[in-house]
Amino acid sequence: MSADYEPNIVAFLCNWCSYAGADLAGTSRVHYPANIQVIRVMCSGRVNPLYVMNALQQGADGVLVSGCHPGDCHYMEGNFYARRRLGMLKDLMEFIGVDPRRFHMSWVSASEGHKWKEVVEKTVEDAREAGPFEGFRRRQIDW
């Protein structure tokens, strides 16, 4: 691993809480690592577990999924489904040999700009420790 290695993190944020939370962090001038690539989805329950797999395949070193706190979902129960599915995915990934530090899930509400900062710092820190993801990344073959 080179010293100037910067991890690539893909973050799926729910429109109603986490995206607004990240927005609040921005308007509050909170500093957090710039390794995060945010993808806004309408609900964390909309995140197909295969998105996580696909992100890792296409070059991400870590994936973060963030939604509303349980009970606060804009769609009542979307994040409960997400919790169940992504929890299973985490177990499966770990069993297959993907470092558990590469996948995180969090609950960040629209008023938790500072929590968002902590979550991002933790995610980036973990991905940095785990190093570049070499596992089943799609390799470009030059013919």
Binding site: L50, Y81, R83, M88, L89, I96, G97, K122
Partner: protein, 326 residues
């Protein structure tokens, strides 16, 4: 089980007007082969068998059957299908009912209590296959192999399939007609395959699966044989969006196996068919059993037991574990 009773019952079932056919097992063309049989008349019923070689899970055929559009002026054939099931197969039927893949009144479940099946690969390895059809029977606490005129007694532990060693439901969970007497469930052994992988560290696991997945030729037999992989439009076949590329390399193979295992999380009934049909001998059962165990231990859910249950991934409990959340 008494074969006479089985054949008589089967003949009675296919004789009914509201039954299309009965799916059972019959002697295959050679050696230890056992073939699925679609019985429509009494002659077919006389060929049915139930032996330790009937490993195939016939519940697959309930959803594999092609439903062609009905021509104008004709009525759809909505007669029932009768199906012979072992303990594990009956769980597949229950899971199909839970997911509304089939309707309860379209299927007649003929339950066959199962004292344990043999592993066909293990059998062919220890006792080479013959051209003549051979027979295998349950014999007290073991098996009796009848091959080329000689009778060989085989200990149960020598040939018992792995899925049967781990089996907790030898008796059908649901049945309309029960054949034979219920067997006493045995103590399942420790799942050594899963424990072996869990004992490795992350790199060890990743090396292990890299070696296994690199063997995959992407024939999709595991998907096709699975009684619970019955989507008309499978994501693995889709080109837009392309979830999994068709290239056969380690990256895409892993993606395929993650997708396959994940789609069976909380649904797999551990019939071991994927493992049996795999031409590359990838231990797919370990993936499935690991997830099944997580679902059982963490979420207290067991698929294919209660026909009234909610599907695992389409339901939730407010107190699901969330120790992994930051």
């Amino acid at each position: 089980m008494d074969l006479e009773q089985l054949r008589k019952t089967a003949a009675e079932i296919v004789d009914r007007d509201d039954v299309k056919y009965l799916i059972g097992w019959k002697q295959g063309s050679f050696g230890y082969r056992v073939a699925p049989s679609f019985v429509e008349d009494a002659a077919g019923a006389a060929e049915l068998i139930f032996s330790p070689l009937c490993t195939a899970n016939l519940a697959t055929y309930l959803t594999l059957v092609e439903k062609l559009p009905v021509p104008r002026g004709q009525e759809a054939d909505d007669r029932k299908v009768a199906l012979m099931v072992k303990g594990c197969d009956s769980r597949a039927v229950v899971q199909l009912l839970v997911e509304k893949g089939i309707h309860r009144d379209q299927v007649i479940v003929v339950g066959c209590p199962c004292p344990g099946m043999v592993d066909p690969a293990l059998l062919a390895e220890n006792y080479p296959e013959t051209e003549e059809p051979a027979e295998l029977k349950w014999n007290g606490d073991g098996f009796l192999l009848i091959r080329g005129g000689e009778e060989i007694k085989v200990a149960r532990d020598e040939l018992l399939a792995e899925k049967c060693r781990l089996c907790r439901y030898p008796n059908p969970v649901i049945s309309d007609i029960s054949l034979g007497e219920a067997v006493e469930p045995w103590e399942p052994v420790e799942d050594s395959g899963v424990i072996e992988i869990e004992g490795k560290d992350i790199d060890g696991r990743s090396d292990y699966w890299e070696e296994q997945f690199a063997k995959c030729v992407r024939c999709y037999s595991c998907r096709n044989v699975c009684p619970l992989c019955y989507c008309q439009d499978c994501i693995l076949d889709r080109l837009n969006p392309t979830w999994v590329n068709r290239a056969v390399n380690f990256s895409e193979n892993t993606a395929f196996h993650i997708a396959r295992a994940f789609h069976l999380a909380g649904r797999c009934i551990e019939c071991g068919e994927c493992e049996r049909v795999c031409p590359a001998n990838i231990p797919l059962g370990r993936l499935n059993r690991k997830l099944a165990r997580e679902v059982r231990d963490k979420y207290g859910f067991e698929p294919g037991v209660d026909p009234e249950a909610e599907p695992f991934q389409a339901s939730f409990k407010p107190d699901d574990p969330e120790d992994f959340i930051l």
